[in-house]
Amino acid sequence: MKITLKGWRELTPGVVITEAGSARRFKTGTWRTFRPRWIEENCIQCLFCWLYCPDMAVKVKDGKRAEFDYEFCKGCGICAVECPGKKGKKAIVMEEEEK
């Protein structure tokens, strides 16, 4: 993921954030060392992953589980732990992030 960082001349005095809701633009996906993978055939649509995600990295569309938002997912792995899966098979697995 390519993020353009500002130079020191472009910063506001006093680290002031002048825009409401700007945390949405703080892409925490770069923090990730492990990446969750969603395996749709094992998903029972319980939405535990959505509920437990400490960020907003699990997308829900029309009441159904959708893809991860990898721009925000920090790779904490809570969703993978909480996922009940189907017949002993997890619907979310953590895989090492590519370098």
């Binding site: 500002k6 020191w8 001349r9 910063l11 005095p13 006093g14 680290v15 002031v16 954030i17 002048t18």
Partner: protein, 393 residues
């Protein structure tokens, strides 16, 4: 028409605060700065100012309340000394990092232990690298004038940094001197209406203060703070020019006293500079080319200008009213040495530590130092680079 009064340094500063009529003041009393707030709170009680006075339970809270009021969009003042400043320590960095133009009168006093209430620069020197601007004052008049100018410097839109105005505990804070006040209207006009930058109370333009800044931005913010510091000298000189028009009193980055053709010289801060100037006059009467440099703007330190003013001397003694344990020399000495380092031809430097914990600095002390400098200038030899003045063996 200027009013002339006989007042203590504390009273002079309190009156400057009264004339500025700040929005908020949060303070906790500590000797020897107590009188500033004692007087100021009575101005508040008597309705002479419209300031919201917040009486807090510690200096840490005092500076925290000042920070809160400043981010809300108010013009804010405070006063403290010694341990009080030490307790504000972490908040000092927050005030400067958030670029809040708070004005703090620091009545210089020794730090514990052992506990001592008298004049000493250890408090201000300990906070020299906390991102604040520091002005130092020789007497009550300078403390008053610096306090008024501090608001203009701090609030300048390119600067927006807190300013600490230093004056010596007891020697200046509690001694009565003749001072010339500006009229209330002149001061109000000089400082002007306060213009907040990103005030939290501007609810139509919401802002957030104090976000977490990690490895990808922290160094950029520090670099930006440094850049602001590089602009301070020019602003200080501009404000001083405007102040001269109103008051007739001239200020610079430092006071160069009989320095132009000097061969030997002293560098000394605050009240002891006055004593030294008298002694220098005596040496001049005897045909000895002695001079003095008294820094006014200590942070940011005007290295280039100070170096330029001292480079032609043969020998200079830097007198420090604070020690820097483990740094070997006093804090002022290190700045002067750094100022002169770029020059191939430069004076021989020696360092004397004097007056710690309020010990009197007497004309005899200045004489001893100047006599020693004459010898150093003549022979180029130094017996001891750092010594304590007037210490019992």
């Amino acid at each position: 028409m200027a009013k002339i009064g006989a007042v203590t340094g504390n009273e002079a500063v309190a009156n400057a605060f009264r004339q500025v009529n700040p929005d908020v003041c949060a303070a906790y009393p500590i000797t020897p700065s107590t009188e500033i707030m004692q007087r100021f709170t009575s101005y508040v009680s008597n309705g002479q100012v419209k300031t919201e006075m917040v009486l807090v339970e510690s200096e840490h809270s005092a500076m925290s309340a000042c920070i809160g009021a400043a981010v809300a969009g108010g013009r804010v003042v405070n006063a403290t000394s010694s341990q009080g400043l030490a307790l504000m320590w972490e908040m000092l960095f927050i005030a400067s990092g958030m670029r809040l133009p708070i004005v703090l009168a620091l009545v210089n006093r020794a730090l514990s232990a052992p506990i001592n209430i008298h004049a000493d620069h250890s408090d201000g020197m300990g906070a020299r690298d906390c991102g604040w601007i520091q002005l130092w004052s020789e007497n009550a008049q300078e403390a008053y004038d610096n306090t008024i100018q501090a608001f203009r410097i701090a609030e300048q839109m390119d600067i927006r940094l807190p300013v600490m105005v230093n004056l010596d505990g007891f020697i200046i804070s509690h001694s009565i001197e003749r001072i010339e006040y500006l009229d209330d209207a002149q001061v109000a006009d000089f400082v002007g209406e306060y213009k907040p930058l990103y005030p939290l109370l501007d609810i139509k333009n919401p802002v957030s203060y104090g976000p977490l800044i990690l490895t990808n931005y922290y160094i950029e913010y520090r670099r930006a703070h440094y850049e602001v510091m590089t602009k301070v000298s020019e602003v200080v000189l501009g404000v001083a020019r405007d102040f001269e028009k109103v008051s007739g009193r001239r200020y610079g980055l430092f006071d160069a006293y009989r320095l132009e053709d000097a061969e030997i010289g002293l560098v000394i801060l605050n009240s002891a500079a006055g004593t030294s100037k008298d002694v220098i006059d005596g040496f001049r009467d005897r045909g000895i080319k002695a001079g003095l440099l008294k820094p006014r703007l200590f942070r940011p330190f005007p290295y280039q200008e100070v170096g330029d003013a001292l480079k032609h001397l043969k020998a200079v003694c830097v007198l420090d009213r604070a020690d820097a344990f483990g740094g070997s020399y006093g804090p002022m000495f290190m700045e002067i040495a750094a100022s002169l380092y770029p020059y191939r031809e430069r004076p021989v430097l020696i360092n004397k530590i004097y007056g710690l914990g309020g010990r009197d600095y007497l004309p005899e002390h200045a004489e001893l130092v100047l006599n020693e400098l004459m010898e150093v200038a003549e022979t180029g030899r130094v017996k001891t680079f750092k010594e304590y003045i007037g210490v019992r063996e």
